[in-house]
């Protein structure tokens, strides 16, 4: 039984890692706020999202211990974001492409004959 105990001791994240991640998150917050006051055109949003993704990855890997977890947890996380991607991609594909296909004028003349 004592064997099992040592074998199954939980991985303890070093204090320095927690403090490092914490400081990185604060720097990221300051950076994202500061960048918003600089005119980068369309890239303002891109930069803000890139910083947010980096911050999220830090939280998931270290604060949420996923770096030290089994692969199964990672599959669930990747699957969740994959499904989120499907939702966003398909809804945007529909919404943004609605005006791309113009109504072919000849179809209008055909409609009365078809229906």
């Amino acid at each position: 039984m004592s064997e099992q105990h040592s074998e199954h001791a939980e991985h303890v994240v070093p204090m320095s890692t927690y403090v490092g991640v914490f400081l990185a998150l604060l720097v990221g917050t300051a950076l994202t706020t500061w960048v918003a006051y600089i005119d980068l055109g369309a890239f303002n949003t891109v930069v803000a999202l890139v910083i947010a993704f980096i911050k999220m990855t830090l939280v998931i890997l270290f604060f949420m211990h996923v770096k030290y977890n089994k692969g199964l947890t990672r599959i669930v996380i990747v699957a969740a974001f994959f499904w989120l991607g499907i939702m966003m991609t398909f809804m945007l594909a529909d919404e943004l492409s609605r005006n791309w296909t113009p109504t072919v004028s000849s179809w209008d003349t055909l409609l009365p004959f078809l229906f």
């Binding site: 039984m1 099992q4 105990h5 074998e7 199954h8 001791a9 939980e10 303890v12 994240v13 204090m15 927690y18 403090v19 914490f22 998150l25 604060l26 917050t29 300051a30 994202t32 706020t33 918003a36 006051y37 600089i38 005119d39 980068l40 303002n44 949003t45 803000a48 999202l49 910083i51 947010a52 911050k55 999220m56 939280v59 998931i60 604060f63 949420m64 211990h65 977890n69 089994k70 199964l72 947890t73 669930v76 996380i77 699957a79 969740a80 974001f81 499904w83 989120l84 939702m87 966003m88 809804m91 945007l92 919404e95 943004l96």
Partner: protein
């Protein structure tokens, strides 16, 4: 009765909190973690639905969303982001204290500090943001008066404010639920339930708390900083 007696004899040596349907402590830990992540996956899609509709409306009415975003005060959004990040650190340290076998009081100290930071977040949000928004008459459905300068965008600015209140409101609701979970953890810690061998409730609640932090990490830039804060944006 015989079973119970036999059971006691065989299992006396088991670590506290160990449920018998599991092979060992490690498997129990992994199963609990996995269950929490499956729940968080549903949460990702729950908030994801709002982020998706936000993205669509933003792409359709960008100028109105920029106008709406400029109605919010960046200072409070940024301060609250820092407050939440601090609370994530203190939560992580509460779990670490349990893992390294620190005293009950140490764990409770970090948990209470996490709760204070969480309550600070909600308090700042209520007092300096939502209350101010009400005074400024930009709360859709309750007190909303369009500015003359918005012109034809007025309806879409109102839509932005709807997104703002629904997204921050549901986030704040998650914070309040988190505060409830943390109070239970304080009580469990005081009862001496946690040890280096058994601290799953702490760790799993930590996952929830960090998840709520992540949602805010995205809400802050998307709501407060959208389209930039530089002159002429």
């Amino acid at each position: 009765m015989n079973d119970m007696a036999a059971h006691g004899a065989v299992h006396d040596a088991h670590p506290p909190g160990f449920a018998h349907q599991f092979e060992d402590v490690q498997q129990q830990r992994d199963a609990g973690r996995l269950g929490m992540w499956v729940f968080l996956a549903t949460e990702i899609l729950f908030f994801g639905g709002m982020f998706t509709s936000y993205t669509i409306y933003r792409s359709l009415h960008l100028s109105a969303f920029i106008t709406g975003s400029h109605l919010l005060v960046v200072k409070f959004g940024a301060i609250n982001t820092a407050v939440l990040i601090c609370s994530s650190l203190t939560m992580a340290l509460a779990i670490r204290s349990a893992q390294t076998g620190k005293s009950k009081n140490t764990i409770i100290f970090w948990l209470i500090l996490t709760m204070i930071l969480g309550a600070t977040f909600v308090g700042l949000k209520l007092r300096f943001e939502w209350y101010r928004d009400y005074i400024e008459q930009i709360v859709p459905g309750i007190n909303f008066v369009p500015h003359a300068s918005w012109g034809a965008d007025a309806g879409q600015v109102e839509m932005f404010m709807c997104f703002y209140f629904f997204m921050t409101g549901l986030h704040a609701l998650h914070m309040v639920i988190g505060l409830g979970i943390l109070s239970v953890l304080v009580w469990m810690t005081a009862k001496g339930r946690f040890s280096p061998e058994y601290n799953a409730p702490l760790e799993i609640s930590g996952l929830y708390w960090h998840f709520v932090d992540i949602v805010w990490i995205f809400l802050f830039p998307l709501l407060y900083l959208i389209g930039g804060r530089y002159p002429g944006s």
